[in-house]
Symmetry: C2
Subunit: 192 residues, 2 copies
DNA sequence: GTCTATAGCTTGATAGAC
DNA sequence: GTCTATCAAGCTATAGAC
């Protein structure tokens, strides 16, 4: 088969993400990544032009998965049902392979700000929130949509777990997220 | 009067916080802080032993304000009313002088992780959440308490404002936060 | 209380051999 | 595709004069 001369590129992505998520982007040096892979820094530079490019490649992967979810969402007719299933699919992404990346994004805003324009996720996130809160002009619904996503991420944050005594398991987070995006049945703020 | 030979120390705190919140802890060098204050790096080291100590001093100030809020909360009898007023007081802190610091804390978790043990806020935050969700054994209530605080912070994040077209003003955030901590009147998740 | 000067180190990145 | 060797630049922090 073509390609696949070695799996170094993917190993770099895996280890880099692991370290970025664990100790932060700035505190993780290329030297450290290289050491953990048992290669030299120069080897990294064969696969990625810069340190930022490593992050960019990780974001691209997530962007692709997001595109699938967004494309599916756009095809649905039943908005309420779609919204619920959308949250469930997001929860799957967060619980699955993209958990560390999401945590990294949440914890390293300053690092991401640097290439805000090249970040393939800002547009997708915007669209995601727009879809979730589509038939709601209420600004509170917009904010709740964002909080729902935060809830999913908190539910998968191990650091958060130990703080709360395992209080925010993924399932609990999913429930709360669903609450946040479900149509309001409550009195609070019902305009008079 | 004693003390107050100069206000340099406070000026350092102000400018440092401004830069930390704006561009992140790691991306802000002492050289940059010194330049903006029109003093030299060495002057900074007269007032603070290390870069981390600057952050520590900022956290101490917030911790004091938190202590006042927590002390007040402990004295109240009516729990539901206290909870609501507690959120309002937190909102005031976030909207007021501590907004930048809260934003900094939210966006620079890796930097704070370094002195997690010396961070005077981790204990206070824990107590805060415990108070908010005190009479609720439901883990969802615990998570909602945290989301309420996140809501307040998002409502005061200017970066977030431009993204959403001014959708998450402080008042809106306060409303959503109050919703999150108010007793549940909804069907969702009512065990059968 | 603030300065100049600099030590000492780490970092991201490159050149060129193999 | 990975290596050795090296670079310039930036950083935190200190010493010591004023």
């Amino acid at each position: 088969m073509a390609g696949r001369r070695s799996d170094t590129r993917e190993r770099i992505q895996r280890i880099a993400l692991e370290l970025f998520a664990e100790q932060g982007y700035e505190k993780t040096s290329l030297r450290e990544i290289a050491e953990k892979l048992d290669v030299t820094k120069a080897a990294l530079y064969y696969h990625f032009r810069t340190k930022e490019d490593i992050v960019a490649s990780l974001l691209e992967d997530l962007a692709s998965s997001m595109d699938e979810v967004l494309a599916w969402a756009r095809e649905q007719d039943d908005h309420a049902k779609m919204r619920e299933e959308l949250i469930r699919r997001l929860a799957k992404l967060v619980e699955g392979q993209f958990g560390p990346l999401m945590r990294f994004m949440q914890d390293n805003q300053p690092a991401l700000k640097d290439f805000h324009d090249r970040n393939p996720l800002v547009g997708r996130m915007k669209e995601l929130f727009a879809i979730i809160a589509a038939d709601e002009t209420d600004p509170r619904a917009q904010l709740r949509a964002r909080l729902a996503v935060v809830a999913l991420m908190l539910g998968n944050n191990p650091q958060f777990h130990e703080e709360t005594g395992g209080v925010a398991q993924p399932e609990v987070a999913l429930e709360v997220a669903l609450e946040l995006v479900s149509p309001r049945g409550r009195a609070a703020g019902q305009a008079t």
